[in-house]
């Protein structure tokens, strides 16, 4: 047992023993010990090591709910002093709140434990392991690696723990303004794998040396590589598959839910925790199904429903987390073989990545965004030239319906590289899409 877990257990158990009979409590832990190294021109711009621990209390009393959290020291003595102080504050503050009609009472959702041990680079090895092979390139990017621990216990006996030692090297290689993006990630750093990734990315960059083609706005046939599909699916995080968003008028797939619009039968989207990149338990400690279809062959099967939404709207919870966003997204593969992508694309655009998507008309699931990195003009199945970046404006109801011509038979894991507040867990398993009439505007 790690020291963090010992401290967490000590604090949680002490607080549980001090609760009054009409009180209930969840105690959460989130900690990371991560080395972040930022690179520019294949040199170290900033190295930042972060050791942070946070303990959170969710307190229930007389139908009231409030949350309090603090930065923990990692000491049984100090952290219990602070946690006790917050418990007293919560107890005093609860009567000042109105009763919460949708409060989900804590229950014992069981016990789970998972720890993924890794083999990461230490401080001595880290810098040279990246700097040496990258020296012949113009590389920018971020290495992040270390231990992440998540704990969740409640006063009803629930007890979950998840530990993960992992890393990612999210980077791009440049030739002037031409660039190719890549990510090497995993639990065990293998120098030969990283160098192979660099070599492959550099090979792709060499294609970008040709003069850039300027396209006129209009509709084009496109292939979206899995990384571009991943960017597209970020729009599902903005209420696209949320029951609460549906009920409050901010669900972009409302027309899909109501049968007014549809997606192609080639499109199926699941939550699939078999990926093992993120814990199955949510903020309430509930375990989501290991696999759950959200969109099946173009039809919306179910939205993500948190237990709170379930209570408010009379729905059945599928143990989504509080934000009701996919945590382990998988899009089903199709039939398009890797070696047939360019041939099936014919004349059009090969888009490796998309950038900065947003709704331009939420009610019609219309999005805008940009092309980025290795985006190429293809003629008669042959790569001709990189393109000047273009802005697009398309509706998901068009490009994922009659516009969706084919889906690749392979999927690629796109690990989360989000580092806001702390290093995120998770990732998506996605294929590529061949799409007709993709509308470019600027």
């Amino acid at each position: 047992m790690t020291k963090s877990r010992e401290v967490f257990n000590h604090v949680a158990e002490a607080l549980f023993s001090e609760l009054h009979p009409d009180e209930a409590l969840t105690v959460d832990y989130r900690g990371e010990d991560t080395d972040y190294v930022r690179w520019n021109q294949s040199k170290v711009r900033q190295n930042t090591s972060v050791r942070q621990k946070e303990i959170s209390l969710v307190f229930h009393k007389a139908g009231r709910r409030l949350s309090k959290s603090f930065s923990a020291q990692g000491s049984k003595e100090w952290d219990l002093i602070t946690a006790r102080q917050l418990l007293l504050e919560a107890r005093a503050e609860a009567p000042e709140l109105p009763e919460d009609p949708y409060l989900v009472a804590f229950t014992n959702n069981g016990t789970s434990e998972a720890h993924f041990e890794g083999e990461l680079l230490n401080s001595e090895e880290l810098i040279q392991a990246i700097a040496k092979p990258a020296a012949e390139h113009d590389m920018a990017g971020l290495y992040a690696g270390g231990l992440i621990e998540i704990g969740n216990r409640n006063s009803k006996g629930q007890n979950h723990w998840f530990g993960n030692e992992s890393f990612f090297m999210d980077y791009s290689l440049y030739n002037g303004e031409r660039a190719v993006k890549a990510c090497y990630a995993g639990f065990r750093w293998k120098q030969s794998d990283f160098e192979a990734s660099l070599h492959q990315t550099a090979t792709q960059l060499s294609v970008m040396n040709r003069p850039r083609k300027k396209l006129e706005p209009g509709k084009y046939r496109v292939y979206l590589a899995p990384a571009a599909v991943s960017e597209l699916t970020t729009m599902f995080d903005w209420g696209g598959l949320s029951a609460r968003a549906y009920k409050t008028g901010t669900c972009a797939l409302k027309k899909l839910k109501e049968g007014e619009r549809k997606f192609s039968s080639k499109f199926s989207l699941n939550e699939n925790f078999h990926l093992g990149l993120t814990p199955r338990f949510n903020d309430l400690g509930e375990l989501a199904p290991e696999k759950m279809a959200l969109i099946k062959e173009g039809q919306l099967e179910q939205l993500l429903v948190n237990s709170r939404s379930a209570k408010e709207y009379g729905l059945l919870s599928n143990h989504a987390d509080e934000r009701e966003v996919p945590r382990a997204m998988e899009i089903a593969p199709g039939n398009l073989k890797k070696n047939e992508i360019l041939k099936k694309l014919g004349t059009g655009l090969y888009l490796s990545n998309l950038h900065y998507l947003n709704w331009s008309d939420l009610q019609n699931a219309r999005i805008t965004g940009m092309t980025r990195y290795a985006c190429l003009w293809v003629e008669n199945g042959e790569v001709v030239a990189p393109i000047e970046d273009m802005r697009f404006d398309v509706s998901l109801f068009d490009i994922l319906n009659e516009g969706l011509l084919d889906v690749t038979e392979f999927q690629e894991v796109d690990p989360s590289v989000s580092t806001y507040f702390q290093r995120a867990l998770g990732g998506k398993n996605l294929p590529g899409f061949l799409i007709n009439d993709f509308n470019f505007t600027l």
Binding site: Y36, R38, W39, N40, Q41, K43, V44, Q46, N47, T48, V50, R51, Q52, K53, E54, R65, L66, S67, K68, F70, Q73, T82, L86, E93, L97, P98, E99, P101, Y102, S123, L126, I127, A131, A140, Y171, E177, A179, T248, G249, T250, Y356, L357, W359, S360, D361, Q363, N364, R366, T368, M370, R372, D389, R391, S395, S418, T419, Y420, R423, T441, L442
Partner: protein, 479 residues
């Protein structure tokens, strides 16, 4: 004022570390925040947080490296120092830039943001009551299906000590409010938002106009429900200050960040179309455009006396009479590029290293009244309140959408339209600026969420602006 839950001896720690590296800095950051959220007159969230930790900075062989810890015990800080020293020693062999003590000035002083009544005077019961009333005020019709009232109160304390003699502290009292009315009928859903982020005290939530403003927000959501879609075409565009803030942020603020120009941000948020040689020469906008970096405007959300490396913050012109003069670059970026900059090296919290950021980036008022601007439009549209934003990684091709539009025909506002959007290219857009509102049309806006950096950080920013009129912009509506 201190929110620290333990008493840490930073001076003692500094004395212990100072001779073990070329330079050492300690930035202690303590933040006490509370967030209350009422939806449809029911409590949705009551969250409070005490966040604190220290960032240890070391300079070794001209390289600056960092280690952060929430463990403020002597052992915890020592472990962080050793970690920073160890990794930085290796990193210094392949450093991207060479720094000296000039990038870490030995500043001394303090700052306290303005307030009339301390945030701590606003108890939970009073705050929740205010939000509950706001939620009710938003409900102007049964078609207002969702009513949201949010308030986030933050008290932040930063202390900074360095081995070269820096010793300063800053205290910020910060308020963010957000109110939303969503109107829905069997054909459409529309929403209106209002709110702001400013440095202030409890008086913001006790504003006697708050409930009337909520009612107007609800009324406007209802108005949009029956409004036609925004027309499509090329026309004059009049932007309200609350949309100007987004336009300034995305197409002036980000492209002028010197670390983007240096390529630090290439792998994440992107590069910039601005080149180092453009400073002092590029006609960024029409001669009416004057943009300042102003960390001293009282009450703006990102006012401060020092940036997070202790550089004293002063007001500087970024763009004057349309010409680009200066970028948003820290002492580090200024050294790397040999260009002037501003005091803008900021970190989101104790656990992030400081990088080039926006703070208060403002468009100065001009001379036109709002009526004069409307009267000079033959065919155009007035847009308010951002709801969609997207721009390329060089900050050139943008597309922005607003919640609320009003058609202007022959110098008069004629009708409200929904789903107004516009798109353009940055330099072309700012050079089409043909009128700038006077001080009566000028207002402060800000927000807590500007994302950037690897590892990523959300920083507080603010943009004050008047109404501004642009000529012949590509405008379009919904389906």
């Amino acid at each position: 004022m201190t929110h620290s839950t333990i008493t840490a001896d930073f001076s003692k720690a500094l004395r212990e570390f100072k001779n073990q590296a070329d330079w050492v800095g300690l930035r202690f950051y303590s933040e006490k925040s509370s967030h209350h959220f009422i939806r449809n007159e029911n409590p949705e969230a009551n969250i409070s947080k005490r966040d604190q930790g220290v960032m240890v900075e070391v300079m070794i062989d001209g390289h600056l490296g960092y280690a952060a810890t929430s463990d403020l015990t002597p052992d915890g800080m020592k472990a962080a120092f050793n970690k920073a020293k160890s990794l930085s020693t290796h990193a210094a062999q392949v450093k991207a830039a060479e720094f000296t003590l000039e990038q870490r000035p030995p500043s001394k002083g303090s700052f306290q943001s303005p307030y009339l009544h301390r945030l701590s005077t606003l108890g939970t019961a009073e705050l929740v009551d205010i939000l509950m009333k706001a939620s009710k005020a938003l409900k102007v019709s049964d078609k207002i299906v969702s009513r949201e009232a949010n308030a986030t109160l933050v008290e932040t304390e930063i202390q900074y000590l360095s081995s070269s003699g820096a010793e300063w502290n800053q205290n910020f009292d910060l308020v963010t409010t957000a109110f939303r009315a969503t109107a829905e009928d069997d054909k459409d859903t529309q929403m209106r938002n209002m709110g702001n982020s400013i440095q202030a005290g409890a008086e913001v939530l006790r504003d006697p106009d708050l409930l009337e403003d909520c009612k107007i927000t609800g009324d406007e959501a209802m108005e949009l429900l029956s409004a036609p879609n925004c027309p499509t075409g090329v026309m004059d565009l009049l932007l309200a200050p609350n949309q100007m803030q987004l336009q300034i942020h995305e197409s002036i603020g980000h492209p002028l960040e010197l670390d983007r120009i240096l390529g630090d941000e290439r792998n994440y948020a992107g590069w910039s179309f601005v080149k180092p040689e453009n400073f002092g020469h590029l006609q960024y906008g029409s001669h009416l455009l004057n943009v300042v970096f102003d960390p001293q405007e009282e009450g703006q959300f990102a006012s401060y006396a020092f940036d997070d490396v202790g550089n004293p913050a002063t007001r500087e012109y970024l763009i004057k009479n349309g010409k680009l003069l200066r970028g948003l670059g820290s002492l580090e970026s200024q050294k790397r590029l040999g260009l002037p900059g501003v005091a803008s090296q900021r970190a989101a919290s104790w656990n992030r290293a400081p990088i080039d950021r926006m703070a208060n980036i403002n468009v100065e008022p001009g001379h036109s009244t709002l009526d004069e601007m409307i009267k000079q439009v033959k065919h155009g549209i007035l847009m308010k309140t951002n709801k969609s934003w997207s721009i390329d990684d060089y900050r050139n091709k943008f597309q922005f959408g607003c919640e609320y539009g009003q058609l202007i025909e022959d110098g008069e506002i004629t009708q409200t339209v929904k789903n107004p959007n516009y798109r353009g290219k940055t330099l072309q857009f700012w050079n089409s600026l043909k009128a700038v509102g006077n001080a009566q049309t000028y207002s402060k806006h800000g927000g807590p969420y500007c994302g950037k950096g690897e590892p990523s950080q959300l920083i507080r920013y603010s943009h004050s602006a008047p109404y501004c009129l642009f000529s012949q912009i590509e405008v379009f509506g919904g389906v």
